[in-house]
Amino acid sequence: MATDLFLIPFFTGLGLAILLPLLGCYLRLRDEWLAALAYSHVSAAGALLALVAGLPPAAGGIAAAALAGAGKRLFAARLSGGAAYAVLLLAGWSVAVLLAANQPQAERLGHALFDGQLYFSGSEQLWLVAASVPVALGVLRILSRHLLLAHTYPDFFRIRGLRAWPTQIGFDLLAALALALATMSLGVMGAFALVFIPPWLAFRRARNWRAGLLLSLLLGLAAYVVAFGVALWLDQPFGPILAMMLVALGLIVA
């Protein structure tokens, strides 16, 4: 029983610790790492809104992030240079904090979402992660070449008749949904740390793209496993411990 209590959160986080560092590599490629923070905050706001409305918070968080991911393209022309992510981040943060300040039931969930209480993950979250992560990895693999080609040779990409929007919207949606899923378990900053730091370190060291992905994955997994044990041992919220581990790892490797 006690083992189950810890295994469910462990495997839930493990799935996300596989997906997020890989996703982060493509966000960094596109210079969109701020998207991780934006989608996490929007997802937290969506979860709290759903809770207040009497709906499942996870569904609210995922729906809000998906809406933000798909809708971002509509304003891309007017909100260039990462402005869309800054706007989403601020909107998500303000809604989440105001809901937490004014709704007693939202306050508890708000703390959990921002602190990252992985240990309260249940079997529903584990199943959701177990079903979503392989799909997300498959989609990322399909999009990978187009994302790289669109970045390095945008004219070649277009001249070959490859449409940019399915790749862009597909990736935006994937990032939004993955971040929403991660925010529910790892917390806003825990998810951001796994998206940002492993790719940042891997990009400095790796010799090629495949090695970059592998190194990012290994760094993310190592930090996650250590953080899980340390947070459990010291009885601390998981998100800040994971972020601290990744920052320490970053300082050592960099």
Binding site: H151, T152, D155, F156, W209
Partner: protein, 189 residues
């Protein structure tokens, strides 16, 4: 494979004088002229990027195009090797010059500007394509690079590929191209 009649191209407004142009499979045609005459704009019109304001532009149906612009692929800070770059366009490293072949597994942001430029150019030139459009390909290349490129363009054309080259390098154009079209400034410019 490509034919233009009295073609006027530009970005937002006409930027070239009317030009007649044609290219057959296996032919290398150079586009030259003074700065600002619209050489790159014309190439962009062939690639479908710039607007056609008047005249006719016809490309053979089903042509696979490859285009090299003067923009350098943004690879600083990315773990992308030369082999990664070639793989993206479907180009093979076979035939690369000796001074580059053993550097193909090194990150692009750790190569010299000339080496990086030649790999980026090679990735386009060697991509599976029927028509290759090159804009100032000799920029950043030393004499050895220009010689290798010239020889390789002839090999590529020998395989049936049509090539249009925009260049201000008169010696390169004379050595590499079967025919040269000189663009003139628009009336009033």
């Amino acid at each position: 494979m490509l034919r233009a009649e009295a073609l006027v191209a530009g970005w937002g407004k006409p930027a070239t004088s009317p030009i007649d142009f044609s290219l057959q499979a296996g032919e290398i045609v150079g586009l030259t002229g003074p700065n600002g005459v619209g050489k790159s704009t014309l190439l962009a019109a062939f690639a479908g990027r710039a607007s056609v304001f008047s005249g006719r532009l016809e490309l053979q149906a089903g042509l696979r195009l490859a285009v090299q612009t003067q923009d350098v692929p943004p690879v600083d800070g990315l773990p992308l090797s030369g082999r990664d770059l070639l793989g993206l366009t479907g180009a093979s490293p076979a035939g690369l010059p000796p001074w580059l072949i053993d550097r193909v597994d090194i990150r692009l942001d750790r190569l010299s500007g000339g080496q990086r430029h030649y790999l980026a150019l090679w990735a386009v030139l060697h991509a599976p394509a029927d028509l290759v459009l090159l804009d100032e390909p000799t920029n950043n290349l030393d004499a050895a690079g220009v010689r290798h490129l010239t020889a390789h363009l002839h090999e590529r054309a020998g395989e049936g590929c049509g090539i249009v080259v925009v260049s201000h390098d008169a010696a390169f154009v004379a050595a590499a191209c079967d025919r040269v079209v000189v663009l003139e400034a628009r009336d009033g410019d």
